[in-house]
Symmetry: C2
Subunit: 681 residues, 2 copies
């Protein structure tokens, strides 16, 4: 089915609707009860904030009002099918800054919206007055009169809502507000828990002042919680014939074994570099040299030759049936295939002849290659997205839909920051409507505004700067920024390494270094990934300083003995199993760093709905690190003054008892504790 | 003309148009060249940012793009009559955060708008490439070819724009780009100043990506730059007859002398407490006691009795003709009259009988008085703005217009934070359309969000927390917040004291304390004010701790001998003269604090269009303070490495020469230096 597929037009060509200045409607600003600084709101509501199914999302606003009467606030969450749910907000500290908050948990994928409603709270006003006036003996009669009236009116509401029991409680309580009773008795009535519950449910909400509806797009869970494993299919089962000094490429079919191994280690996304025909013009040889021979396989990112472009398969890897078998095999293992999507062309790409208008022709008649002056990358022609917007936008959408039709629902986008943000906004908006399960990972290592903008316009995940954050203060600051400032638009994928990034921290090949970075990535971030070879401690650099691998797989075949000893296969499997077991590890928002005086020891906990995991990890792969660790008990979901805490050591199975201050000694052979909080008091 | 005026309906009753959720239209978000985080923008553009005529306003945005090509940005400023002006933006540091900035100076009052346009800059791209490639000897021919093409195309634009000289420069320069020339010669051509100027003016701007139009309301200058003097007309010329133990009230007419004195001291706004009939029910006696007799004049803020309410004059002060004479006298002195506007009623106010629906009737049938439970303020009935919104909103607008018709164009609003923000938003929007010169000062000492919201919906000035900021770190932090974070929506009026606030710092009566606070207020803030008696060092408190004056003028007559010695009349006049002389003191945005190791010495400079004033002030009224002062020469408008600076001491007339580090010795008799920067290098 090759021919049909490479030219298929499975979906009707959509009309380009990108407009430089389309408009949308937002509310006036400040209503009867002012509500401002609502979050999460992306660019004033132009783009949806991010969530996944079942994720706990904080919604916050500043809510305040004139004078002394009580103010209150609610979140109204609207599901994709239009059902509204009200969630009470609570005032936060410091109250002088008027912050209100509610955590909501959307339970289905799709386009949700939310608004915040500020409202006047007569019950709160009465209760505040009662607390101030009753003990002071002021206006007792009037306080009782107004209280009875309020409770009786609310009882009628409870009746109408079909809650006769609450109505009865309210009416009976009203009868207890007798001015002749001692003030403290009246106060006890006013402070009754049953009364508070009934009033919270049915008490009057006046001057309800809604904000605009703000969009919240709820993705499937894998957008946030996934474990990625990257490998080159051509290396899996590749063989070398010394006699002819010739390699035989691995194939999709010979890669099934690696799929099985990755699935056995608990990875659920297999990410493949580009699988298209590779250009021959200016082909790169071993170690990124310019003197490649026809025996060199070339870089998969130099896409396209006479055999086809982005909609074709490299003949060495197999045909479409083989590709479909590969995707099906992955599916049978519960694993998804993510494909690299690199929007650039080798000089041999069919587009260069068929659509020269999709590139930039210079005044000397040549097509512009990639460059970062004075550096030149003559093997790559960048796309020009402005010459024929209709043509190139639709072509890219066609190609994406081709791969989607073959079961690829995740794309890892190569260098999205070198293409117009507006282009991605359009693509992602199209797909959000027709294929909301399709996920995009942005590979943009660039300045913050661009990285943020890509997340804002809809990229579901992004490569972050984790790979270069090694010291404790860096990790704490960066993770806090990701978890508490960028969380509504930017989901990090903590890759320990990639074919492009051989981090200095790992270049020693020291197993402890790999263990540390795997534990940090897998427990700090709900999405993480490794590039194959990581488990074998591959880290030899091409040159120092530098982050290129020696004999990089980008330019040559690299079959491996994945069962060579030592390896991290077992650890990676354990980490992924713990991530599946503990909901706390499937999100990042609820993370707290705990104090450890030794800067070589980092301590953090995550919690979600009563599940709490505490990680203590050494950052020194060469020396034993000792430290006290001071636990923030409240962050562990325990009373702030809890003295004893029982923990399960998830790497050894031991059960241990700790207190508020604990001593740890972490040596390179066992550099971390992953602890599940069992009980505490 | 009393009767006609108190009931006049000079303007047609407007229809209430406040709606809890009106909408407005804003752009989609991120265009071809992304432009985000634009400032100043208030609540997404729902309300206009603030400026005054001739003020320098910073407009900032994050502007960035894909890939390596050059990005650029402009501000397009649109005047009330629709004329667009383009102002080039410049990149700021750190460039990694993509900040761009332009300072604009709107030159007429009214509703302006601005937008930011991000654009692709082919000249910037070519120039960057030339700088990278020419010295490296790369692509010389193509660089020259593309340069010539760009310059020649731009020459055609310059021709079309009627600039033949610039067109000639561009064409001649193009001819100099000869590939055979030495690379460094070509680079010199590319870096030519004349070329840069011509390209900046006529060079191509591509992919122009505009944001929404954001509103910027330009007020008359007095909204920002004014000097206030507050006095009670009833005290001016009041006389006491010991025989009958009776006071005779001062009047508008007997207050002309004080008007003249205030004008002589350089004040340009005279602020009067309420001038309406004073209620008799629960009238307050001397020192806020509850046993007032009919001889006590009562608090002017207990407004209304059978003689009238907010639209009437207190008979003791004079009739409407006297009021008009007072306003006219002020006008002849170049001074404006600001009136207190306190939206509350005494129990005797005509509204209580005519419009009980404008108050809250409690369940026991009584009208609710003001309270902060358990405290009661039975002499004041708060307005209920929700019972009859149409009625009360229009009545307030009618009353404001009545006073406006009598020449009052500035209102000092008493406790605006106890009235709905939405009400003020409506009032201010009405007046911005019909009477844009009318200014409102908010007296809201409350939580930040409310103070900010009042500024955002249109209050032109606000009382700030200056009165309680005495230490250096407090002053620096607070002024930096006002000048650099709140500047687009909140203009502080630095009152040294008010009838309600007798600051602890001044309660000693120490002249140096008054001198210090006057100098700080008058030079830190473009708008400042004093309450009469300040110049006589009045500061005796009713009780300690506490901020009430002993024998407060709020409850009794208080004629003063304003020429008693010692006094600050001369200093206040000098300060106001310096404020008029130096544009730097007429704004706050361009302020820099300089380092002085002694925390009792504060140093700051302000600059505007080449005018720079440096203030060094002791904060210790009791002791001599010595310190070095390290000058930030760049902040003074001089080269950062300037060694010598010539200054005029504006309080003594001496000319002094300073360096980067300078020693000052400030004693209580002369606690500050106000220095005008003359030259430096």
């Amino acid at each position: 089915m090759t021919a049909q597929n490479t030219t298929q037009q499975a979906t009707p060509t959509p009309t380009i609707t990108v407009d430089l200045s389309p408009t949308r409607t937002v509310p006036r600003g400040i209503g009867r009860i002012p509500v401002v600084k609502v979050s999460p709101v992306i660019e004033g509501g132009a783009f949806p904030a991010k969530a996944v199914v079942g994720e706990l999302i904080p919604i916050r606003a500043k809510v305040f009002r004139e004078g002394h009467d009580a103010v209150n606030a609610s979140v109204i969450l609207t599901s994709p099918d239009g059902v509204e749910t009200r969630v009470d907000m609570s005032p936060m500290q410091p109250s002088g800054l008027d912050p209100w908050e509610a955590w909501v948990r959307p339970d289905a994928p799709g386009p949700w919206t939310f608004r915040v409603e500020g409202w006047s709270d007569p019950w709160g006003t009465w209760h505040h007055n009662a607390e101030a006036k009753l003990p002071a003996g002021v206006d007792i009669e009037l306080v009782c009169l107004e209280g009875r009236d309020l409770l009786e009116r609310t009882a009628a509401v409870a009746d109408a809502a079909g809650s006769p029991i609450e109505a009865s409680i309210l009416r009976a309580t009203a009868q207890l507000l007798i001015p002749q009773r001692p003030a403290l008795d009246l106060l006890e009535v006013a402070n009754g828990v049953g009364l508070a519950t009934a009033m919270k449910k049915y008490g009057p909400r006046e001057m309800v002042s809604p904000t605009a509806e703000f969009p919240l797009f709820v993705d499937r869970k894998r957008a946030q919680f996934s474990s990625w494993y990257e490998f080159f299919p051509r290396s899996q089962g590749a063989t070398y014939d010394a006699t002819s000094d010739t390699w035989t490429s691995g194939t999709f079919d010979s890669s099934h074994e690696r799929l099985e191994a990755a699935a056995a280690m608990g990875f659920d996304v297999i990410y493949l570099p580009p699988v298209h025909p590779i250009g021959t013009a200016f082909k790169k040889g071993k170690n990124n040299t310019l003197d490649a021979t026809e025996k060199d396989p070339g870089s998969p990112w130099a896409i396209g030759n006479t055999a086809g472009g982005h909609d074709a398969l490299h003949p060495d890897l197999g045909d479409w049936d083989a590709f479909d078998r590969f995707v099906a095999k992955a599916g049978s293992l519960g694993v998804e295939v993510a494909l690299d999507f690199a929007l650039q062309a080798s000089p041999d790409h069919p587009w260069v002849i068929e659509h020269p208008e999709w590139f930039t022709t210079r005044l000397d008649g040549t097509i512009a290659y990639a460059e970062n002056p004075p550096k030149k990358y003559q093997d790559i022609y960048p796309i020009n997205f402005d010459n024929d917007r209709d043509g190139i936008y639709n072509e890219v959408l066609r190609i994406l839909k081709l791969w989607m039709a073959h079961g690829v629902r995740i794309f890892r986008i190569d260098n999205p920051h070198t293409k117009p943000v507006e282009f991605w906004a359009w693509i992602l908006e199209q797909l959000r409507e027709t294929d909301p399960d399709v996920l995009f990972l942005a590979e943009a290592f660039t300045k913050p505004e661009m990285m943020h903008a890509l997340g804002k316009v809809g990229f579901h995940q992004s490569y972050p700067y984790f790979t270069w954050r090694n010291s404790k203060w860096e990790l704490e600051q960066y993770v806090n920024e990701l978890a508490h400032e960028m969380d509504s638009f930017y989901r990090p994928n903590f890759f320990t390494n990639t074919p492009d990034i051989n981090p200095t921290f790992l270049q020693s090949g020291n197993p402890a270094a790999f263990t540390i970075r795997a534990i940090l990535a897998a427990t700090l971030s709900p999405t993480w990934g490794v590039y194959s070879g990581f488990e074998l401690f591959e880290g030899e650099p091409l040159r120092v300083p530098g982050e290129e691998f020696k004999n990089s797989e980008k330019y040559e075949y690299r079959p491996r003995d994945y069962n060579a000893q030592p390896n991290l296969n077992m650890l990676l499997g354990t980490l992924n199993a713990l991530r599946t077991k503990h909901a706390a590890l499937q999100q990042m928002r609820q993370i707290t760093f705990h104090h450890a005086p030794n800067d070589s020891v980092i301590a953090y906990s995550k919690t979600d709905a009563g599940n709490t995991v505490l990680v203590i990890c050494s950052l020194d792969p060469f020396n034993t690190a000792e430290s006290d660790v001071y636990l923030d008990m409240a962050a562990l979901g325990l009373p702030a003054d809890a003295q004893l805490i029982t923990l399960s050591d998830e790497l050894t199975g031991a059960v241990i008892t700790w207190g508020q201050r604990n001593y740890v000694r972490l040596h390179p052979g066992s550099p971390a504790l992953i602890l599940h909080v069992l009980t505490g008091n």
